[in-house]
């Protein structure tokens, strides 16, 4: 599975959203992406990509698009 597919599937699984909605997805933009959902998202991403994110990056992870940018720091090209 390529990284984009894996990244998208994690979002879809955690937030129960369709793929077409991902591009515009933002933290607290939907009910499911609250602080609890955010913790779950990070846990799934860390597990999926075998990384451990810094707290600053977890705080900065404000949208689907921002997440792609942040993952580059961990040598994950989405």
């Amino acid at each position: 599975m390529n990284n984009l597919k894996k990244y998208n599937e994690i979002f879809m699984k955690v937030f129960s959203v369709e793929e077409k909605a991902l591009e515009e997805l933002e933290y607290q933009g939907i009910d499911e992406w609250d602080s609890v959902g955010h913790m779950e998202l990070i846990a799934e991403l860390e597990d999926g990509f075998d990384i451990m994110m810094d707290t600053d990056d977890i705080i900065d992870f404000s949208s689907y698009k921002k997440g792609i940018e942040l993952l580059k720091k961990y040598e994950v090209e989405v």
Binding site: S35, V36, M39, E40, I42, A43, E44, E46, D47, M52, T55
Partner: protein, 251 residues
Amino acid sequence: MEKELQGRNVILTGGRKGIGRQIAGRLAEQGANLWVCSHEKDIHFEEDMHELSQRCGVNIETIYFNLLDVNDIKKGIKRILSSKLPVDILINNAGVAYGGVLAMQSMKMFHETFEVNFFGPMLIMQLVSKIMIKQKRGNIINISSVSGCENYGGNISYGSSKAALIWASKELSKELAPFGIRVNVVSPGTTRTDMEKNRTEKQMEAVLERTALRRMAEPDEIAEAVLFLAGDRASYITGHNLIVDGGRVNY
């Protein structure tokens, strides 16, 4: 009969001696595999853990990190997590005690007390809870102290760091409950460990005077309370501060 914690994987800090060593023993006897953390490498500790592992037929790995060093903590916990094994239970037991009134407490001592007793456990919980969130289950037990529950003067940094740990544990019990993670506290009273050697005879008398059972706890009596919270007998308990103090704190 299956042991209470058969096959569970446990991270325990401060497991080299005192209450932590008793916790390690009780959990291993009940079938738990352990990562026992300590701040300094010690051949006696290594041998002790090896013997415990053999005797109980469980896996025990010693892990070393210094709670005063954020990067060292991260390195130690990452080493544990890199095993990719589930983490069922986290016990933050390591602590440091500096008694004293505010006027006699240097800011260095204050910082050190909070680093070890509060910020270290916070960082460990932050790292480990992510695995537990993914697992959708977990159990965290923080060892505080009755010093965090009562005010008698002369214990400003230790008492406030332990009070902070109790408050944070209760807060985390709410945050982590949606993921099936329980968070509880055990607050021991005066317990027969090296930490109590810091007290003068007079101070000890005064403490025992206000302890209903008029004696110190043995470390195993504290470990027994931890074992209870660690197992499924406590499956509906979260956000609780279990005070094990022989009747010292009035609530």
